[in-house]
Symmetry: C3
């Protein structure tokens, strides 16, 4: 897959114009930032999770993003119900397997979830993606201890198995659609010192997938925008507190020129 700065910027324009409703069932830690990032890029976030209403929400939503960061049984039930409704309607579904591999229950839960419908994009760090297929993989809490390239064969396997795009994020992001791998090396090391930017990346995958039928392109564009916005924000920041603030401002103001000057991708 090929894409240029102009393609990315056109998709941002689509998001800003259509303001797609992105339904998030995500963790408590990042809800505020995720909602703000979606608003900043031009989408319309909604964050409900109750089993009683998630299926009905799918009827209105243009994408569903599920993130297992702080799951408990009632939230898992909400995710299964939302996933079924989203799969039935045919909207893109993004799954973020936060902390997969950290505990047996978490790993099993997200494996079961992935099999319960048709995921469009799965995005995680290397440890998390490895844990989806490999029982020996270990995550240190929610931070990756594996390098992205170690997870590449897992990513390919999952992509084949579920006919979905798998994104392994890290200093180099791998966006995998079966044999087709796009590598994006935008971003800044200080981004790892802000909680939940991985979760934001998954939410942006939802926003791009809502306006772009090619899921591989949607995921790659989202990862490129994350990395580029992080770089621009890091230039203005004195630490992770100001990085988080500037990141939202930069997402809101992102220009085609910012993207053209910085985009670093290879097939």
């Amino acid at each position: 897959m090929k894409f240029a700065a102009a393609d990315i910027y056109r998709s941002i324009g689509d998001i800003r114009e259509k303001s797609p409703l992105v339904h998030n069932i995500t963790n408590y830690v990042v809800m505020n930032n995720t909602a703000n990032a979606l608003l900043a890029i031009g989408a319309s976030p909604v964050m409900i999770h109750a089993e009683e209403e998630v299926a009905e929400m799918a009827k209105m939503a243009s994408a569903l993003v599920m993130n297992i960061g702080t799951i408990s049984e009632p939230w898992v039930r909400g995710m299964f119900a939302a996933f079924a409704a989203a799969t039935k309607k045919g909207i893109p579904v993004i799954i973020d397997p936060v902390g997969a591999g950290a505990t047996a229950w978490r790993t099993q839960t997200v494996r079961d979830l992935i099999r319960a419908g048709r995921p469009t994009i799965i995005r995680g760090n290397a440890s998390e993606i490895l844990a989806l297929t490999d029982d020996r993989s270990k995550t240190k809490g929610v931070d990756s201890i594996a390098a992205s390239d170690e997870a590449l064969s897992s990513a390919r396997r999952i992509s084949e198995m579920y006919s979905c795009v798998v994104c392994v994020s890290g200093p180099m992001d791998y966006v995998v659609d079966r044999g087709d791998v796009v590598k994006i090396s935008n971003g800044h090391p200080m981004m790892t010192k802000v909680t939940g930017l991985g979760c934001t990346a998954s939410a942006l995958c939802g926003a791009f997938a809502a306006v772009e039928t090619n899921a591989h392109a949607a995921a790659a564009k989202a990862m490129a925008v994350m990395g580029i916005a992080g770089e621009v924000a890091a230039q203005k920041a004195f630490g992770p507190g100001s990085l988080q603030m500037h990141f939202l401002d930069v997402l809101y103001n992102l220009t085609e020129n910012d993207i053209r000057e910085r985009l670093k991708y290879e097939e």
Copy 2:
């Protein structure tokens, strides 16, 4: 109802001096910002929701703010218990029907909640207020797709029915106490790109109602302060990330002069 900048500023002084305890049962997305906004204006926030303790908390609180953003059954039970205790004690109760109209369960839940006690102020966007009386009203997630003036007759009806103040917020805020309507047109478009400023407005209604017996004036003052603080913050901001930060700083430092120079209201 008439009010001047001096009245608003006097109420802010009362909040800063008395630091009223405002009990919030609100959604996960905005809890941090809501607590920070209440602290910045001078109130003392508490955010507990468990059925086991909410009634006892009402004994200490000067206002109760309930927001249905991310409800589930246990939280709804907590809201009913808190509402009963607050109504019994006679403290002001503010209800924010976030996303009313988006799903049948949500709409029914908030309609039942409103009928379960004596709400003092109901604050929502136009879609949400319309959904309280009109089954055909549709909300797009949590963002309004109706104009504020469309909701005005609904607001009047609800105000009559429950003897409460109804506030429809938007570019023009309508603060309705039966036949008496105050219009406030402060605010800035970028405020819609920060998640949860509507929820903050409801929380500030709680802070003002805690120190001001006239609920109509309390709601109008809260809406004016929201809009004015948002305008001042937007002047300093480069995007929604910095707007959110400056908003808290501005609330904390708001002067009578800021209010006098900017207040835009009409009866």
Copy 3:
């Protein structure tokens, strides 16, 4: 106990180098800030709470921090399970009795929790610490209405009873290990206008206790770093919004010199 700026800075170096996994079961209001503060100081936060997995997480974690701010029954069950596993493994456990004294259920719950294992550090404001032993103590929501020195004898008693360190925070922080009391008077009044900085203090106790076997020193160092970072941040801030942002930047960039110039402690 004696300690100097160099000791504190050495511990920060250990945190930055080892990046200890700090498992937090904390409240919804502060989760984002707590995770960000732990990342900024160099630790690795994880925030899971489900009964199904907390015990397994203890095997990986270097410290457990439990905070009762927004508890409900399922979270309390998660805390008991996590505490048992952490006590069995022997990692430090920090308990933050947010709002103890505000309701009977809350007070009883945290008293039961403390007795269920071996807490290493208990950190709260004066009202909260008093409420752990005194039924007549009253908290105003989550803000202290007692002075720190009033809670000193309670703190000593709890420290003796549970062989743990008790930290009473306020304008003067008392860090009590039975007869040994360290007083730290760093900090800035504006810190009370940012929600959850007390919760952040408890989380930092977890980070320091993860790399420092002397719990008394760990708690004292955490309180000193909180106060010093708050002072430096307040110098740059225009209000509580920017204070919160600068606080994270300052934690991330804290130097030995910052600590040496500002540390105010006495035995």
